[in-house]
Structure formats: C-alpha cells, structure tokens
Symmetry: C2
Subunit: 237 residues, 2 copies
DNA sequence: GGCGAACGGATTGTATACAATTATACGGGA
DNA sequence: TCCCGTATAATTGTATACAATCCGTTCGCC
C-alpha cells in the first residue's frame, strides 16, 4: 500500500531518485529488462550517471510496486508474472472496477464525463483505422478517468497499481483486433450507464468488462506466454 | 503494490534497514508517532544506533506502505487517516474479503480449517472473560488465516495491506464489547459456510461482516476521533 | 579424480562527507 | 511597526569510502 495522497509529488522527476525510479519502471514495463533479470546498482547508476544511493532508494520503491524483488545481500530481480497472478488480478479488478464505476456514477464531474465521451469517440475512430497503439493508450486513459471519477484516493490508487501491474501482459496480448471493438463497446455501455445515473448497471457492466478482457486473454494464449512457471514460489533461503 | 512473493524475506530483521522499517511501522501503528508528526532521519538514526542510510531506505518503504508521506527536500510525516479513508477501505474490504472467503472455500487446507475452529473457540472464551487484548489478537489472526487460505498471493497481500492500514483505527474503537460477541458470531458463520463448502454463502457473510464492522465503528464515534480534517489534501508545493 | 576449505572478485550493506535545499532569525530601511 | 532581504542553521539529497556477504575458483588433501 502506498501513499495515496500525492505519491507523484514524492517521486518528483526533479530528484535523481525520482528520475531513476520512473526510468526503471518504464523500462521494466517496456520489456527492456526482462523477467528474472538482475538489476545491478552500479550498472544502472553508471548508465544514468548517478551514484548508487538514488539507485538503491529507487529499488526499494520498485520492490513495493511489485516490479522487482530484492533478495538481501544478493540482488534485485525483475519479478515474473505467472498466469495465476494475472487471473487473480482480473478477479480482483472485476470487483473493484465495478465498485469504482458505481461510485463514479454519483461523483463524476461534467468535465470527466466529457473526456470519457471524447475518449470513446476517438477510440472508435482509431479502431476503424487499425491504430493499435492509440487504442491501447485510449484504453488506459479510459480506466484512468474512471479511477479519478470515483472520488476515492484509496480505490483509485489500488486500481492504478493493478492496472499498471498487468500492462506488461496486455502489451503482448491486447493486439488481437477483434477484442478492440468489443472493448470499445463495453466502454461505451459503461459510460452511458454512468451518464444515465444507473449505478447498479454501471457496476455490473464494469464487472463483466474485466471478465471479458480476461477471457479474451486466455483465448489468445496467455498460458503460452506466461507458462505455469511454478518455480516462482521457491522460498529458498 | 508490493512484492507478493516474499516481502518479509526482503525486510529481514537481520539487516539494519529491515529492523528500522519494522520498528518504525510498529511505532506508528502503536501510536508512538502520531499523525502528521515529522520523522527526522538523524533523530531516528541516533535512537536506533544506525546511520541515516538505512533509515532513509526504511522511509521509502514506509511511504509505499502508506504509513508516512515523504515531501521532497522537506521531510517525512506520519500520514493521517480521514473518516473517508476508513469508509473507502471498508467498502473495498467488503468486496475483497468476500472474494477471499469464496476462494478459501475451495482451497482451504485441513490444518487451516482446524486453526480457524480453534480460533473461534478461543475467542468465545476470551469474550466471556472480557479479555480485550486477546480478542483483538484473535480477530487479526482469524482474518490472516482466511487470507492465507484463499491461495492467492496477490489477494492475500492486498487484504493484509488494508487490514494493517486500519489497525490504528481499530485499536481505538473495537474495545466496545458488544461488538466483540457479534464479530465472533459472524466469524463462526463464515467458518461454517466454508466448512460446508458453501462458497456463495461464505462470500455473502464475509461481505456483511465488513459492513457490520464499519457500521459499528460509525456508531461508536469514528467521526469524533478522525474528524473531517479536510486539510489532508492540500497539495501545496 | 573427487571433495572441501580457503582465497579473491564482485556485489550489496552501512557509514560518513559534502552539496543543495529549506526554514528560521536577524537586521536594516521605509 | 511592518516588510523584506540576507545570513545562518537545520534538514534532506547525493556521492563516496569502507565493511560485510556471497559466489565461483583454485588449491590442497584424501
């Protein structure tokens, strides 16, 4: 659990630690550092032109974000995501996105609703054109708007954490374009329920949206990508 | 989001950083350091006989646990919990504890179920004797067993985070002894549903258990303790 | 040849020194 | 008296030096 008030202030990009943190997070999510790869303090420090101190502090933060795993006196390793992790996350997200949509129905602002409509409009355009990158970006943004609109710092942060955590997976699987249209449709239905003030429906639709997203992942070979590497849980000392 | 595999290995109590981290966390939860109190690196370091380095690293971890808030170039402050935070947490927990109970119904081991029965038996005993401390301890343990039993590292960790986050509040409010018995009853019902293999019922009961716990808190003056200190969100630079 | 202990390199853990930033106190001027 | 700029102290940010630990290798012994 993290600082729900203003975490990004604390990781400000003007401090070396903050810059290292954001750079490493991005590189891990981008896949530059692969699963189980070891991150060495001096190497990272030299690459970014800083000393070990800010690198170490960034490591501590990355660990609690779940992106790396620090083994005392040994090193820092990029964490792997098992197929079960993904399943669990989507189970949790299904409930929480539903809650989020329900709360957002009461709390959403005019501006947020407008941005949501614009988002859906744009997504339809890019879907037709086959612009996958923009689609992914808009999908992320749609959920971010929803998180902001629920007016709960805690829920917003929790969902953002999970969302970010599965970005690595989504980048590899969401490029199946049949899902793109379905996802857009579901977004629009959620938006319309919110706009109509039907909190119950919005919750139900958001629930199902996550279930559908996960089912699609499984269909498109999640298992093959993140095989059942059961060696994830070996607690060897 | 944190390392779901073995975070406690990384914060091993044999490293200075780990010891500082655990000590500070305990002191914050115990109330030794009060809300909005500033934690100074040198002071903590001298008190524990270590240099600033491990203290700083412990701070970074505490921040992502949500216990302190670090303002760059200024300091680290113990985070306050607003009444709304507590409400949000219980809303989230209601859903997730329900999910946890549902999963646990399928996955719980014989040993875990036995410990749960023993827990409930002991709680009834201590409730009759009026042993508040033991009651609180058993209540914590009951939920921990449930978290372990759901067989999801991610869900387990998420729930533990939220649970720990509200410990500060619970210590001040759960000592109303009428709730003790009701809580025990609810625990037993959840356990029996799990034992009977009725996942739907277990989920519903766990949902309601959280709602009841929160309602009781409100009744017993949550507002008065954690007043609407709206000054929590001032993002002054 | 196999096995174990000791050595050495590499890496992390901790302490300390120095730089940058912020807060506070003081003093001068209007 | 009030305001404001400057100096100074306190605190955090970063770099570096040193200690402890881990891991592979080599050497010696059986």
């Amino acid at each position: 659990m993290t600082n729900y008030d203003n975490k990004y202030d604390a990781n400000d990009k003007y401090s070396l630690r903050g810059r290292v943190f954001q750079k490493l997070r991005e590189d891990i999510l981008n896949g530059k550092y692969k699963e189980h790869e070891e991150l060495k303090e001096v190497a990272i420090g030299e690459e970014l032109g800083v000393s070990r101190t800010p690198v170490r502090e960034a490591f501590r933060q990355l660990e609690l974000e779940g992106l790396i795993r620090i083994v005392p006196n040994k090193g820092a390793y990029v964490t792997g995501i098992t197929a079960k992790d993904v399943k669990d996350i989507y189970m949790i997200r299904s409930l929480l996105e539903g809650l989020c949509a329900r709360l957002a129905t009461e709390k959403i602002s005019k501006e947020q609703l407008e941005e949501m409509e614009e988002n859906i409009y744009l997504a339809a355009f890019h879907e037709e054109k086959g612009h996958m990158d923009q689609m992914a970006e808009l999908d992320n943004r749609f959920h971010d708007i929803l998180y902001e609109a629920c007016d709960s710092k805690l829920l917003e942060h929790t969902l953002r954490d999970f969302h970010r955590y599965v970005l690595r997976v989504r980048q590899k699987t969401l490029s199946t374009n049949t899902r793109g249209r379905a996802s857009n449709d579901e977004h629009r239905q959620i938006m319309e329920a919110i706009k109509a003030g039907d909190a119950e429906l919005a919750e139900k639709l958001a629930n199902q949206h996550m279930i559908n997203a996960y089912d699609n992942m499984v269909k498109n070979g999640l298992k093959e990508i993140y095989g059942e590497n059961a060696d994830e849980n070996n607690n060897e000392k």
